[in-house]
Every structure is written in C-alpha cells, then in structure tokens.
C-alpha cells in the first residue's frame, strides 16, 4: 500500500473509536471501583461481617428503607453497601491476582516455546490445547470441590483462565519478532538471547499483551463470580461480588437488592473494562483483533 493510502487509512481510524466520553466514564467508574475497594475500610458505613439480626432484609433507602443501610441489608442484616465495597476488594484482588498469574505464566511459557523450538514448544502447545479443551470453569469446579477451597487456590485457578491465550499470543509474536529485522540486527551485533528477548522483543509485544490482559480481565471477574455463584469461590465470612450475587439469588423474589446491586457492580465493572480494553486495543494494537485468541474481547 502506498504511503499516502496508509496515511489515509490511519486518518480514517478515529471514526471507529468509541466516543471518548463513554470511555472516560468507563475509566472513571473503574477508578471509583478501585478507590472503593482500596478504601473500603474508610468508606464502608458498617463492617462487612457486622450483623444486625434485628434489621434483616432491610430494603434500600430509596425503596422504603432507612439511610442506615443505603442499599439495604442481607439475611443477616449486614449492610449491602459495605459488603459491596469489601466484596469488590476481594473480587478485584482475585481478578488482578489471577490475571497477573495467568499473564506471567502464559508469557513465560510463550517465550519459552518460541525460544526453545522442538520439544519445549510442542509441550507448551500441548498444554495450550489442553487448557483450551478444558473450560476453566469446569476444571475449577472439579478442583475446588475436590480439593477444598482457599484464596490462593482460587486465584491460581482463575489465573489459569487465559494463560493459554497469553502463551499463544506471546509465542506467535515472539516468533514473528524473531524474524524481524531489528532482532536480526541485534543478533548480528552479538546481543545475547536474554537481552534480545527482554530488552528488544518484550517492549514490542508488551502493548498487545497488555491489551489482551485488559480484554481478559472482565473474563476473570466473571469467572470468579461464576465460581462464587456455585459457592466454590470466596468463602464466608469473607465476601466477593460473585459470592453476594450467588447467595442473593435465592432471595431475588423477596429481597432483590441482595443480588441486584452486586450483580450490577459486576456488570458495570466488566462493561467498563471492556470499553477501556477496546479503546486501548484501537489505540495500541489494531492488528490484535485478528488473533483468534483475542476474539473473546
């Protein structure tokens, strides 16, 4: 494509980006959630495990409740608002921890597979195929139910979701980067492999990996929520958004607020993350969309 056409194509890009206002509000919301999670101790009007058995199932303030419990209370008279703040903290911890774990595992294995072609690569790709063949939710259900539950195990399992996408993406990008002129140039110069991988290839693929991580993050939140929904996630008295939703689902008919508020927070968080991720993808890495693994934005 001649340079002037490339230019034209680039200039035509802004039209498909989501309106910045939407992305901005999404980012704002994410910031708020993070802030709320971080400052739960200060912000929460009540303790997240603080029971008020005489104030069980209080409706939210605007639906006939009191200002004591702005978003109502649950079956043990615990303040929903406070629990959402603390629950968001757990959810985000699990999601961030899981994403981080999956990211590290996936990219390391991806680098390894690209560097040591042959058996190592085959082994990694086999693991990738296996991971793809066993939906994480299914695996996690079995593991958590059979091995029992703990937060580190939960984070680990949640992290397993998506590592294969990072691995596949990393391997593909490293392989193509290895063919690129700048890596060749560094090899001619005599740079050692670690230097080439860490200092030269990594900065180039980091953008795409970060985008993949932002696109995967909502997935991780939903996975934690789904596991907690089955009662296999975070265990009481600790709480997470998914756990609140899972416990609240039985009361949807008579106390909708128990499930609806945390459910909405999950929904809005995922939504915001998607919007921000999309925007980042458009900005940082327009080619990523073609990667099959990235198809689950």
């Amino acid at each position: 494509m001649p340079a002037d056409l490339r230019l034209a194509a680039r200039l035509a890009l802004p039209a498909r980006r989501p309106a910045p206002l939407v992305v901005l509000s999404a980012a704002l919301f994410l910031g708020l959630v993070l802030l709320a999670a971080a400052g739960a101790d200060l912000l929460a009007p009540h303790g997240f495990a603080e029971q008020h058995l005489d104030a069980r199932l209080q409706p939210p303030w605007l639906a006939g409740g009191t200002t004591d419990y702005l978003l109502g209370t649950d079956t043990l008279g615990r303040d929903i608002l406070s629990r959402i703040l603390f629950g968001a903290r757990t959810s985000i911890l699990v999601a961030v921890g899981g994403t981080g774990f999956g990211f590290l595992l996936g990219t390391s294995l991806g680098f390894a597979a690209a560097h040591w072609r042959g058996w190592c690569e085959e082994a990694v790709m086999m693991l990738v195929d296996m991971q793809a063949a066993l939906p994480t939710l299914v695996l996690a259900l079995a593991v958590l139910a059979f091995l029992g539950n703990s937060l580190p195990l939960l984070i680990l399992l949640v992290g397993l979701d998506g590592w294969e996408r990072y691995a596949r993406l990393t391997r593909g990008m490293v392989l193509s980067a290895r063919e690129s002129g700048y890596v060749l140039s560094m090899r001619i110069v005599g740079a050692p492999a670690w230097r080439i991988h860490l200092l030269h290839i990594l900065p180039n693929i980091a953008g795409a990996l970060i985008v993949q991580a932002t696109l995967n993050f909502p997935h991780t939140i939903l996975l934690e929520a789904a596991l907690s929904f089955f009662g296999l996630g975070v265990q009481p008295p600790a709480t997470s958004l998914g756990q609140m939703l899972g416990l609240g689902r039985a009361y949807l008919i008579n106390a909708w607020w128990i499930a609806v508020f945390p459910g909405s927070v999950i929904f809005l968080t995922t939504l915001s993350m998607c919007l921000v991720g999309d925007w980042l993808r458009d900005r940082l890495d327009p080619t990523l969309a073609r990667e099959p693994g990235a198809g689950r934005p």
């Binding site: 085959e122 690129s180 002129g181 700048y182 060749l184 140039s185 560094m186 090899r187 001619i188 110069v189 005599g190 740079a191 050692p192 230097r195 030269h200 900065p203 180039n204």
Partner: protein
C-alpha cells in the same frame, strides 16, 4: 597479487522446508543456496545480484553469521566462523538490510538503538557518546534524531541510522542486503553516494546484495550473478555487464529498463521461454517452475527458461569455468564457445 581474502565462502548450502514443521510434519525441502563459493578481498565491493528467490539474501545471512549453512563454510581472514561467534569477531562483520523500518526496533529511541551494539560489546558510557557523535557525523544525521523513534523519521534517514549502527562496531566487512531498493530515486542516490563515501573513508569491504544491476554497476568492483541458489557468472563489474557470458546474465541486462527513451522494444526482448515460467517462487510448487527440490546436478536450473538449452543442459549441471582473468560462468554453451 595473491593476498588473503577478507572473507571467503566455500560450498555454501542451505535448505528450507516449505512450511514450518510441527513435531511430525515435514514440508518439502527447498534448496535456497546450493553450493555457493566466493571470496572478497579487503577494501573490495562485491556485488551479488539475482532475482527474488535466487538465494542472495540467504547467502547474505550466512556471511553475516546469522544463519548456519547446512554445508560449506564462511571464513574471516582464513578462519572459519565458529558457533557461537566470539564477540570480538562478531564485530568484524556487520550488516544492513533492506527493510529499514523493520530493522529498527519501533519501541526504542534511535539513540538507544545506536548505543545498543556498544553496550553489548562492553564499551563505557563516555566512549559510547563520543563514538555515536562520530557515527552521526559519518552518515550525516543531526543529533536531534537520537531522541526520535524510528517511525518518526524518513526512510532515507532510517537507512543512514542503520548504516551508523552497523559501523558502530567498526567492522571490516559490511553486508548490505538491498539497502536502497525501498527508497525513492532521489534518496536512493543519496544513500548510494554515502555508501561509496563510507567505503573509502573506513576502508570498508562490502558485500552488496541487490536485484538492481544499475546500482551494482555504480558501487561494486566485482559482481556475482546468482540463479536458483548457484552462482552462474562472476567477474569484474565492467566485464560481466559489458560482456555477459551466461544467458541468464544477458537476459537480466536486457530486461533492464532503458536509461533514455529510444525506439520501443517489444516482446522480442523478453526471455525466450514460456512467459509464465519467468519467475521462481519459493512459496509455490507450480510444477512448471524448475524445482530445486530435485536431486542435485540433474541438469542446468536455467535450462527450462533458456532458449539455447540443449539436451546436455537438461542432463548435467554446468560448473563455473574461467573465461578470462577473474571472469567465470557456469554454462555448457559458454564452454563450447
């Protein structure tokens, strides 16, 4: 004047598999380079010409020690390349490749990329600064460029950056693989001139790989013509271009666009053969195209396209024969002449 060549390649062979193989899958093997030998004396500019797929880039990669030959050796001042290359020897051979955008890391500032070879070779920070200033002066780039990213500068400037980086380690041999073919004519002329200057100023030896005989004619002392992974003709530039011996060399020269408008030349000028046999394409396995996967030596690779091909040509592969001092060609017909 029997001086030891700076670099010598002998019997280089390199094959590729047509598709990337999995654990068990094997693609058909294609010989990209099939027994290439040459020697370059210090201070000489050696041109390697050929069409796409002729194997010239593969030769360049083997000579720059980024690709191991399946067979044959490359020797620097008589000493063959070892694996891994000691850093000091690494520095002696540097290279510049065609795609100037790809050859620069898009995420690193140009200054950093110029510095990188010096860091790898353990040169101190102060010394690095001095050297980089010198390099910038050498290739005619402003210091302000150091803070820019490769995407922010023009193609000509990038090519100069590449040259500067390649020169940073003060190499003896500079391998240039199509360094100017992606550039516009006006810029191409600038870079060709720069290369000629650098060659003189730093007593550089050049392996200049190009498909453009016109540029090779300007820059090189000697030239080798590569076809289907083999050298079909080599010699002093003036002689090879002035009186080409091999039918392929002649076809190449005839196919060049005119320097000045003249009477229109027509189809008669084209290589006499079925026109769609004209190209070699590694990626495809069109049966009509001479297949380098066939057993070695089964005929001259050019025979299928050669108007003068005889049964002998199809039976046995010709070897390089000396025609005059330094001028060699691999053709049965030339020998018969």
């Amino acid at each position: 004047m029997q001086q030891q060549p700076l670099i010598s390649a002998s019997g280089l062979v390199r094959s590729y598999r047509a598709s990337r193989a999995g654990l068990l899958r094997r693609g058909p093997e294609v010989r990209a380079v099939d027994g290439v030998s040459f020697a370059i004396r210090a201070g000489e500019a050696f041109g390697l010409v050929g069409e796409s797929g002729s194997g010239k880039t593969t030769v360049g990669r083997m000579v720059s020690a980024t690709l191991r030959p399946d067979a044959g050796t490359v020797a620097l001042l008589g000493e063959p390349f070892a694996e891994p290359m000691p850093l000091a020897r690494r520095a002696k051979v540097q290279a510049v490749f065609q795609d100037s955008l790809g050859a620069l890391n898009p995420r690193l500032r140009i200054g950093r990329q110029l510095e990188e070879p010096l860091i790898v070779h353990g040169i101190g920070a102060a010394e690095r600064r001095v050297r980089i200033d010198g390099l910038l002066a050498d290739v005619g780039l402003p210091r302000s460029l150091l803070l820019r990213y490769p995407g922010e500068v023009s193609g000509g400037q990038r090519q100069r950056v590449l040259l500067a980086r390649a020169l940073a380690l003060r190499p003896d041999l500079l391998v240039c693989d199509e360094p100017v073919s992606a550039l516009d004519v006006s810029v191409q002329a600038q870079v060709v001139n720069l290369l000629a200057d650098l060659k003189t100023r730093h007593a550089l030896t050049l392996l200049f790989i190009s498909h453009d005989l016109r540029v090779v004619r300007h820059l090189c002392d000697r030239v080798a013509v590569l076809f289907a992974g083999r050298i079909v003709e080599s010699g002093a530039v003036a002689e090879v271009i002035g009186s080409p011996a091999h039918p392929y060399t002649r076809a190449l020269i005839r196919a060049l666009p005119a320097d000045r408008p003249g009477p229109r030349r027509t189809a008669a000028r084209a290589i006499a053969a079925a026109p769609d046999l004209a190209t070699q394409d590694l990626a495809t396995q069109d049966l009509a195209i001479p297949d380098r996967a066939t057993p070695d030596g089964a005929g001259c690779a050019f025979a299928a396209r050669c108007a003068a091909a005889t049964p002998t040509c199809r039976r046995s592969a010709p070897v390089l024969r000396s025609l005059s001092a330094g001028h060699e060609a691999a053709c049965h017909l030339v020998a018969a002449r």
